[in-house]
């Protein structure tokens, strides 16, 4: 008894020593760095604090989704950068998913040529550094576009030029009502779906949920157009002569080439990884599952929709989440081609102007950390929802 007790205490002490040493080492490093930082900042006459966020930024940003000019504060500039990062990430994720799924499914096609082309797409775009792809699109490919006066015209409503892509601008009246109706439609679809699931599980009835959902999504917003005074008109870009040789487009929305290059490179690069995930997911569903489904008389589409995809998604989603996270983090490469994302605006220009390295770099890093954590939390939730429900 006594011996055992001593042994246990011995083990406790044995466990305690390495832990205490690690914590001590970590603390001393932190304290060392902190004191140094304090001395250095004291020498330069700056004090740690976030008050500078309220000061006037006095620099311009080339592309902003919210109102901004030099007279706004650094905090506002941060927000502009953050929104731009989110914008390019969302666009990138959207297209990367589409390309990735198409390429991933193509790799499994029984058409030899298609499978080969998809394979080479993956091999080529995965093995070239993303930054080189961004440079290629921005400095080489998009620079080869024509000047505004002979821009590539899409039916005269949209123009692709070296200075960017000019698209029509949406002009809404009563946009809020429209937005509310879309939200209402989405909520309605949620209830329809859960009702359909209940019907299927209790009575074995198959309701055409997709058709009903689509109809709801179209009909409810349509009503706002007809009865609630929502209107939508377009403002088309029009070529305008500035001087004898300089032309530009007026009206419409200009999508800057930096955004195009970044979105192209990000989505094409990340798509290769998503394609591999999709392929692995579909291959991961056992052959027996398909055969069993076929033997109970499901047709090819039903097998795909009811048996293969639900199981494949479980394999596909976790690594794809990681790719979405990577894409969001990789969007920071925007700084290399001067797309005004959070790194360029905040960790670049604002840092140069204020010299507050510690505060600004920590804010930037914390922002990315919280973006990463929120995406992974959402995906964990989704993953749990999709997981096998044991009965």
């Amino acid at each position: 008894m006594n011996l055992k007790k001593i042994n246990i205490e011995n083990k406790k002490i044995k466990d305690l020593i390495p832990q205490a040493l690690t914590v001590l080492a970590l603390l001393s490093v932190i304290i060392y760095f902190a004191t140094n930082a304090q001395i250095n900042m004291g020498n330069r006459g700056i004090s740690f604090g976030f008050g500078f966020l309220n000061q006037e930024a006095s620099f311009d940003i080339t592309f902003s989704m919210i109102e901004y000019d030099g007279s706004y504060s650094y905090g506002r500039a941060f927000l502009v950068g953050l929104l731009n990062t989110i914008l390019v990430s969302v666009i990138g994720i959207f297209f990367a998913t589409i390309i990735g799924v198409v390429v991933g499914v193509s790799r499994l096609s029984d058409n030899y040529l298609i499978a080969k082309v998809a394979e080479w797409y993956v091999e080529i775009f995965r093995n070239i550094p993303l930054i080189l792809q961004i440079f290629f699109w921005y400095f080489a490919a998009l620079r080869a576009l024509p000047l505004p006066e002979n821009g590539i015209s899409f039916n005269d409503i949209s123009f692709l030029t070296i200075k960017g892509w000019y698209v029509p601008k949406f002009i809404w009246t009563n946009f809020n009502i429209f937005l509310l109706s879309v939200i209402a439609a989405l909520i309605a679809i949620y209830f329809i779906n859960s009702y359909a699931t209940k019907q299927r599980e209790q009575f074995g009835k198959q309701l055409p949920t997709i058709t009903i959902s689509l109809a709801t999504l179209i009909l409810i917003p349509l009503i706002t157009f007809l009865f609630l005074g929502v209107t939508l008109t377009f403002e088309y870009p029009v070529l305008k002569k500035l001087s004898s040789t300089v032309y530009t487009y007026e009206g419409g929305v200009s999508i800057i080439p930096e955004l195009i290059a970044l979105a192209l490179a990000l989505s094409m690069y990340t798509a290769t990884f998503i394609a591999e995930n999709v392929r692995a997911g579909i291959l991961g569903v056992g052959k027996g599952q398909k055969e069993a489904a076929a033997s109970i008389g499901l047709n090819k589409n039903q097998i795909l929709k009811l048996v293969v995809m639900p199981q494949a998604l479980r394999i596909i989603i976790p690594p794809t989440t990681n790719q979405y996270l990577n894409l969001t983090k990789n969007s920071s490469l925007a700084a290399a081609i001067a797309y005004p994302d959070i790194v360029l605006v905040f960790a670049g220009t604002a840092l140069m102007q204020t010299g507050r390295a510690i505060e600004i770099i920590s804010i930037t890093m914390l922002t990315y950390l919280s973006l990463s954590i929120s995406i992974s939390m959402f995906m964990n939730w989704y993953n749990k929802k999709m997981a096998i429900k044991e009965k």
């Binding site: 020498n43 040529l113 930054i131 440079f135 290629f136 790194v343």
Partner: protein
């Protein structure tokens, strides 16, 4: 009605030759159109002439789609590219696009390209100006490293490659020493040779290093250091000691949550603030530390995957033999766990190599950075395409070779029972 009877084995004699000739005509038309810019179907109305190859090819493919024809090559063809109407269309589109895109590519890369000369004015053709790459080749490889001293980089890499090459031919017994030398001695010898400052070698500061050799140097050192740190972090995360476990988790998740570019910014502008005034750490070393720690966090997660995949019995068996923690991990657990995650390790190392161009944000110029520098040279404006195609090709070859090697290694080391 007989005319459009379903192709079967009975009418194979008439359908197959006819179908094959239709398909050939459609390919020939596209081919001649693409390569000789001559339109065979010019006599037809323009819209029809445009779609005719597609229509002919489609009909042709329909006619030769005979199930169980008994002709071996026909069956293989049908099975692989012509199993139904949709597949036939996909095949046609793919082949048309490939045929159409060959001539412009060929023109740009070779036929219209310029190889001879040594200034931009020598590039008179419409294609690529490879003269640019030729003139700047030394810079792309060695950065701003002085020309007279470049033999030192060459020697270092020559020794490296000859040792690696030789280690494939010597017996297992000596191989061990080769690897120990490569890992523990050579990196420091090599870096001494390149930086100089002793043995009568002229000192070359790290700011002058650059080009592809810098890519290799940074990748090699980061790989060397990130691997052991990653393993230790992975073990730490699996540790039963709470303090070590949570410190490891915090460290790993912190690095994994932020983009490398902000880490590099941190090493460049924030890190000097944390050091006593006046201390100066070389930029290259700071960047190396940043990249190493960053990739070590990813490596840790990969290794952890391997550790988790091992059955509990392995741990228990090792313990029952009386092995301590370190002995158990070094002799039983890690060899098996690492082998399981070779693809993951290879992917992390590949990501590391692909991340090296990012060091341009702190002003170090490896291959991509040097191209950025060269293309803004007033004498060589407008060479971005050539430069980035070249850099892309170089990186592609490196990364593709690495991924192929890892696939082979995985096969070689697999001990499937």
């Amino acid at each position: 009605m007989n005319l459009i009877a379903k192709p079967t084995k009975e009418n194979i004699k008439t359908y197959v030759p006819f179908g094959l000739s239709l398909v050939s005509i459609s390919f020939l038309d596209v081919f001649i159109n693409a390569f000789f810019n001559f339109n065979l179907m010019a006599f037809l109305p323009s819209q029809l002439g445009y779609f005719l190859p597609l229509i002919l090819g489609f009909i042709g493919f329909y006619l030769i789609r005979i199930e169980f024809s008994g002709v071996r090559y026909l069956d293989i063809l049908n099975k692989n590219i012509n199993s139904n109407n949709f597949n036939a269309l996909l095949t046609l589109f793919t082949i048309f696009i490939i045929i159409k895109s060959i001539p412009p590519m060929l023109d740009w890369f070779i036929l219209e390209a310029n190889f001879i000369g040594n200034s931009k004015e020598d590039c008179t053709g419409d294609g690529a100006c490879w003269v640019f790459i030729k003139v700047w080749f030394n810079r792309f490889m060695y950065g701003l490293y002085p020309d007279a001293e470049q033999w030192r980089i060459n020697t270092a890499f020559l020794i490296l490659f000859s040792i690696v090459g030789a280690s494939f031919f010597v017996s297992e017994k000596f191989k061990k020493y080769f690897i120990l030398f490569l890992v523990f001695v050579f990196p420091f010898l090599g870096i001494k040779l390149i930086s100089g400052g002793s043995f009568g070698l002229e000192y070359v500061e790290s700011a002058a290093w650059g080009g592809l050799s810098l890519t290799f140097i940074i990748s090699a050192f980061a790989i060397l250091f990130c691997f052991p740190i990653g393993v230790i972090l992975a073990l730490g995360r699996r540790s039963s000691l709470p303090a070590i476990k949570y410190i490891s988790i915090g460290f790993i998740e912190l690095w994994r949550g932020v983009p490398l570019i902000t880490v590099l910014f941190m090493s460049a502008v924030m890190f000097p603030m944390f050091l006593p005034d006046g201390t100066f750490i070389d930029k290259l070393i700071r960047v190396l530390i940043a990249i190493t720690l960053f990739e070590a966090a990813y490596m840790a997660e990969v290794v952890r995957g391997g550790l988790q995949a091992l059955p509990k019995g392995q741990y228990e068996a090792a313990k029952s033999l009386g092995m301590g923690y370190w002995k158990m991990n070094a002799l039983i657990i890690l060899p098996q766990a690492l082998k399981l995650v070779i693809p993951g390790i290879a992917n992390t190392l590949l990501a590391l190599v692909k991340d090296t161009p990012l060091i341009f944000v702190v002003g170090l110029m490896e291959l991509a950075g040097m191209i950025g520098l060269a293309k803004t040279n007033p004498k060589w404006l407008g060479m971005a395409m050539e430069g980035y195609v070249f850099a892309g090709l170089v990186f592609w070859i490196i990364c593709y070779a690495m991924s192929r090697y890892s696939q082979n290694l995985e096969k070689k080391l697999s001990t499937e029972r």
